[in-house]
Subunit: 321 residues, 4 copies
Amino acid sequence: MSEHAAIHDIAHLGGIELLTPEPERSLWYFRDVLGMEVVHAAGPSVYLRGYGDRAASTFKLTHADAPGVGCISWRAASAAALERRAAALMAAGLGEGWSNGDFGRGRSFRFRDPDGHSMALYYEELAYEAPTELRSALKNQPQRYTGRGVGVRRTDHLALMAHDVSANRRFAQELLGFQLREQVIFDDGRQEIGSWMSPNAIHHQLAYVADLDGGHGRLHHVSLWVDNREDVLRAADILTENGIFIEAGPSKHNNSQGFYLYSYEPGGNRVEIYSGSYLVLAPDWQPVIWNEQERGSGTYWGAPLPETFLKYATPTVAAKK
Amino acid sequence: MSEHAAIHDIAHLGGIELLTPEPERSLWYFRDVLGMEVVHAAGPSVYLRGYGDRAASTFKLTHADAPGVGCISWRAASAAALERRAAALMAAGLGEGWSNGDFGRGRSFRFRDPDGHSMALYYEELAYEAPTELRSALKNQPQRYTGRGVGVRRTDHLALMAHDVSANRRFAQELLGFQLREQVIFDDGRQEIGSWMSPNAIHHQLAYVADLDGGHGRLHHVSLWVDNREDVLRAADILTENGIFIEAGPSKHNNSQGFYLYSYEPGGNRVEIYSGSYLVLAPDWQPVIWNEQERGSGTYWGAPLPETFLKYATPTVAAKK
Amino acid sequence: MSEHAAIHDIAHLGGIELLTPEPERSLWYFRDVLGMEVVHAAGPSVYLRGYGDRAASTFKLTHADAPGVGCISWRAASAAALERRAAALMAAGLGEGWSNGDFGRGRSFRFRDPDGHSMALYYEELAYEAPTELRSALKNQPQRYTGRGVGVRRTDHLALMAHDVSANRRFAQELLGFQLREQVIFDDGRQEIGSWMSPNAIHHQLAYVADLDGGHGRLHHVSLWVDNREDVLRAADILTENGIFIEAGPSKHNNSQGFYLYSYEPGGNRVEIYSGSYLVLAPDWQPVIWNEQERGSGTYWGAPLPETFLKYATPTVAAKK
Amino acid sequence: MSEHAAIHDIAHLGGIELLTPEPERSLWYFRDVLGMEVVHAAGPSVYLRGYGDRAASTFKLTHADAPGVGCISWRAASAAALERRAAALMAAGLGEGWSNGDFGRGRSFRFRDPDGHSMALYYEELAYEAPTELRSALKNQPQRYTGRGVGVRRTDHLALMAHDVSANRRFAQELLGFQLREQVIFDDGRQEIGSWMSPNAIHHQLAYVADLDGGHGRLHHVSLWVDNREDVLRAADILTENGIFIEAGPSKHNNSQGFYLYSYEPGGNRVEIYSGSYLVLAPDWQPVIWNEQERGSGTYWGAPLPETFLKYATPTVAAKK
């Protein structure tokens, strides 16, 4: 399977399912503190959205025994692209078969990445139709900006832990057609610590970072977008006033140039409020590779990242077993 | 009464009473859209505050037949200063006598400015004690920043219409000890269009602008502070999404350098969301005076101010009669 | 030529050539006031870049008798895509043939849009290599942010005037594969006033707006990106202090949601400093269409756009003849 | 000497003299990186200003063997206040006598605080008159905002190390009439770690923090103001790109609510770029006192301050001897 055949077959990240052992408090965090909207509920799951998300829902919160990431879905660029990717994934032995799709989505193909994270591909999507009270004064904005809490605009990306970063990165390049944007590689090119990739102009919609604790299928963080750096600062004020633990930031990464703020939602998952970074439009983009010295603390202005940032993931390895 | 004797006798603007014929919708505007907190209610009045106001309340919303400004209160710098100013105002024939004070305030002296606006002076003030759910993570912040709506920090200033700007400006300088900061004077120094004054380092806490319609005791606008220009832009988004009419801005004035956003609250009064401007610390500050040409449109970047900005005040002249 | 065949063949806007009768003062505007870097000069032209532009140059300033736009170049997604598009343009009778390319670019195919604007397609591009003094502390940033003036990050888009918007919009969709993002259509669907399009996730990289003065090949504006709305406000301060005429803004459009600031550079061309807007990732995006009532003033918060915004373009019709 | 007698006798911080063993590189830092203007030079000193400073100069850079703070000057509120304070300081045994004043200032009274820092009091001050090329489009702005580098607006405050914080704090309250704003007091009220004070509405213009290394007369940091938090973030970008070491921030303190960014200028002194905080207008302000637990890391969002922040001061104790 050449990289070329897959390019442009995936349009964008479709949605993230987050698992939480504290569903009510997690819902409070995403709805009342971050300002997302609830659009649907079914069984153990609640479906949410950012005010700028075009799809009905991009974020699914599911009650579970332990925190972590559930199914990560990607939107294909066309019905044909969906078939092509499904066939390739099946051929690669990663496919799990078709389903009728989740809320707001048509026929979906389930698969797993080499590290075991659950993923799905779909093409048909329900565009959001706002109820009257959430209609925006902007015809090109799917939903009104409510001014409640942080006010995240859209689901932007996620970072997954992987036992073998290289294998999972190649999977995303070759089978999903993602473009490799940046890498952290230590030990003179021998140890791939992290890789940032994307199917579109957003700097990264998927990252794999090394899981050094022997876990599988774990989550480093999910990331929600706001438009300006000042919005991230305001988010830090709001999170602090709500008693939410801030692990790091607001500050600026060197790799990705992302302006970050990491907190733990009540269920235990790391959530980033995020702005800045840069778009990549070049078809021949050459990955930017950082070694130990260049990577440094991983931040631009010198702010240290805490030890937990490298170690903590959900679920914990004990919980996963 | 020399100007000198009064200097430093007034510490700061204490509060503004706003009259509204639409009390419920006005309350919605200030509480739900601007994010102020309700701290007290009595008779036709509701008492509000910004999250950074030290006093229990700085903003009083009172049901009335027509919009406009009620009593404007100023805090004296000490008990002795209160007595001095009361005596001077009484001697000037503007005093109306003492009362036991309004919610959150001790003994108060009522008076009127030459144009007839109702004012009060007091010294004793109830500092805000937040209930548990509104306590801030910051020990030096009287109340938590809730993240609801615009999130105005404090009541900053107000602008009053006056038939005779000069007479009212002299009153504020001589009897209240305010420092004159800026003036707009047309017709080769003969027509005082507006004067901006303050008892402290804030650029202006009181402005008088010419009432060309023959009215008396009218209000141009009240102004509420946010910390950053981006907060004003965000306020514009929120106001628009809530269907509130924006008369002008966000943009930047030339005089005062204020970064402004003017809307009409549902009761009809003009309300400014405001940031920027500059502090004045010089004891020998020389007023900055703008003539027709220098004043131009009244804005820094060239954005025009609408005709209504010069004409509309509350109550309308018809309603006042 | 179906739309489908062209999709993804163009990667992004490659560069804009701006014509100026005041080359020295225009250079001062772009280099000293906006903070762009000069990377090359040849004959009547100077080549510039924003600090975040990946290519060596994205902006060419050329001495000419009258202001206006010179050649607008687009980068193909691959060598094969370049051949495909060239063949299609030639077949459509719009091709003008191949050249060896301009500074920093390989073999280029010249053509004109139906309104007569000069365009070029190329694939090979020189990625910027910063000289020592302009190297960034960020390995993923092509050039250091110098902190000089406005500090524009990259060339973002341009808007062209066209006698027949529909014909030119169809050309861009069908022959360049651009996705139609938004339209302003008046008179019950009969009069296409403007159309906004893009070959990638950026909301629009090309717009056509109706030229009501009978001109051809004219420019409405070029647009340069900054990351935050506050950067646009700061740009307004800097432009004003440099005596540059600001035609409109900073404010927010309703269509595109762009946070805009329009000034005239010394050569007479309209230049936008721009942030905000939104990304489009949906492969099945449905254009947002605004009628007279919905379009209103063209702004979100109600700020009026001046008459000149609809009328002024470069060159003036008289100059063009 | 009661506190009362001194209140309002000092209007504001007049200027800071910073000592540097690297005068050329320090000048580059303040002029080219921070964007201050040079207004005068005499002997080993260069006089600078922020674009919003009303006085001709508020910042003096003096070549010396070691970094540290030179003379800190305060502006009296009147000629009479100057005499009153001079008499009181002389009576307290801290006076050093009168001089003709430094550049831009009239007759000055020199004295030392109990810890030995050199200070001066003056009343007459030269208001800045900008040369043509630095005249602002704003009549109320002393100087044009040039858009060069960080663009600091004004000299805001400084923090001094003191062997005995309590003694120096009492000196500032009683002899200078400063109002005590906040304190960090450990060990159940027995150990005064730091005190923040001001003669005006600015939260603090002078802080004393405990010098635990046995030094005297040392500097913790000088602080320069920008209007918005985004300006501080942009300053961090500029400092980093210029290879300046950032010790901490951008982030937000809990005490003072200051939005901070600390770097070391090439001479070795700690310099803060600063925004936010809050104004204090209450005549009966009660100091906010933080114990060990409340103070925590000294930051609001949880970002740690490095060890050096508590230890490093200029000159180093060795250099001072």
